[in-house]
Symmetry: C2
Subunit: 148 residues, 2 copies
Amino acid sequence: MSAFPDRTTRAEIELGGTFQPKFGPDGLIPCITQDHATGEVLMFAFMNAESLTHTLRSGQATYWSRSRQKLWKKGEESGNVQLVRELRTDCDQDVVLIKVEQAGAANASCHNGYKSCFYRRLTALDDPAYALETNAKPLFDPKDVYKR
Amino acid sequence: MSAFPDRTTRAEIELGGTFQPKFGPDGLIPCITQDHATGEVLMFAFMNAESLTHTLRSGQATYWSRSRQKLWKKGEESGNVQLVRELRTDCDQDVVLIKVEQAGAANASCHNGYKSCFYRRLTALDDPAYALETNAKPLFDPKDVYKR
């Protein structure tokens, strides 16, 4: 059972003043994580009711790892925790957006060493080769991660 | 069949220079849409290969509507189109992020009249009542939408 308020009417969900998050059939809600100071999107992951509750109570971003099927306290292993400054939801309350202060040793959100997971962009929308480029610099050497 | 390059090795997908988007078992990839000038997250939706291709070729954000099960050319009915300035993907290339210029009559992304769908935030992370608040002002009267 979810610890969150039950979903009520469409009007209440879309324009009301109570958080009524919708978890999908798999028990998950998508979460967008944004740097609270710069607005940069850092990562995208999923939360279940337990990880959302943990995020709110601890003030630290906690996700649900679909690959490992376990609670994923961000930074628990790497030390790169995310301190939650604000939580938003969208019109139909089936997505959450958290604004965080990325903290820790490297201030990196991505396991590949970058501040943001979105470190690559298409060189051009109409590029038939679909080439990606990056102008981001890694903040730590990801080999250190793979070594552990 | 997807028009996009095949997924190759983990190293190529995560650190390489070719866009190899991963569509889920349902054929969809999550898309975060951000204002290219301010960084504000405007909305979250899904794309299938057809809508992603249409987005890249037309330069206008095109999603897949799960509720209507059809291609959703953003702004086709409301006039509030999104001109795509940049497309990014994340480390494992199973999410896309587009930076857009929200254009059109009201410059609103949300059907409820707001610039962003994320117009409400929790008043406090530890609020046991889970109260939401907003400081956003609608740019058009959503009743106009419901009337149509």
